[in-house]
């Protein structure tokens, strides 16, 4: 399990990657690369036991988010 001060920089990188995806969503090659890096990093974070959730600005559109994250959100379905 990571400490909060170790998690925060990862959250910032995820936020910036989501922002970079928004700027490059029409550039297929670059957008794909960003999604790959984003998914790898988010899965790494989840695999450490993190389950807090991200704000919308730090998420990609649902269809580009990793299943592991969507499963976290599904836990909250009522």
């Amino acid at each position: 399990m990571l400490e909060q001060d170790e998690i925060q920089p990862i959250r910032i990188v995820l936020t910036y990657l989501a922002g970079r995806w928004r700027a490059n969503q029409n550039n297929t090659v670059q957008a794909k690369e960003i999604v790959k890096h984003y998914n790898e990093l988010l899965c790494f974070l989840i695999n450490t036991g993190w389950n807090e959730g991200l704000s919308l600005e730090a998420e990609l559109p649902d269809e580009l988010m990793p299943q592991e994250y969507l499963a976290l959100l599904d836990m909250d379905e009522v």
Binding site: R22, G53, L54, S55, E57, E59, D62, L73
Partner: protein, 176 residues
């Protein structure tokens, strides 16, 4: 209310959103939100005008991709609810912070004018990461007030950085 040089400040209120609150059906709990108060009573926030013909799920996804027409609204009651933990669920808590920022008379007048016109004409978009974080005349809730001259705690517009910057600059937690 008249401008009082030397005394005049605004209060910036902000909290970070959380995607795990999507079942509440309240978009601002997912995005997080920033508001500004001139008098410590009414808090105004800039947000997107969501077309009535798209559902919540679609709106959520569109916000991650594109710009919407924006508007200023009186979000006082919403911020009060955040402060008293109304939207908290289990371990997911929304922490509201308040930062006091000095302003000059021109900024004060600009804010009054924006509140009067409801911020109409500006666009709302999440920040991008590129040469510029926002296209012209486009803001999110965090950066909107810069157009009036308010000194922002952080320039990028990403709440992930904005709120820690507020805390570093002396913001206090608001809890009721």
């Amino acid at each position: 209310m008249l401008f009082d040089a030397g005394k005049n400040v605004v209060e910036i209120y902000a909290f970070q959103g959380n995607g795990r609150l999507r079942n509440l059906g309240e978009p601002l709990t997912l995005t997080g939100h920033v508001g500004l108060s001139l008098d410590g009573k009414r808090i105004y926030g800039f947000g997107p005008i969501i077309p009535k013909d798209i559902n919540f799920r679609e709106a959520r996804n569109q916000l991650k991709k594109s710009a919407f027409a924006g508007q200023l609204s009186d979000d006082t009651n919403f911020f009060k609810k955040v402060a008293c933990g109304f939207y908290n669920r289990g371990q997911i808590e929304l922490d509201l912070y308040k930062l006091t920022v000095p302003i000059n008379e021109q900024t004060y007048l600009n804010i009054i004018e924006e509140i009067r016109t409801g911020g109409i004409g500006a666009f709302y978009k999440f920040p991008e990461k590129g040469d510029k974080n926002f296209p012209p005349n486009t803001y999110n809730c965090a950066t909107f007030w810069e157009k009036c001259g308010v000194q922002l705690p952080h320039q990028s517009g990403f709440l992930e950085e904005y709120i820690p910057a507020m805390v570093r600059q002396g913001a206090e937690r608001v809890k009721k």
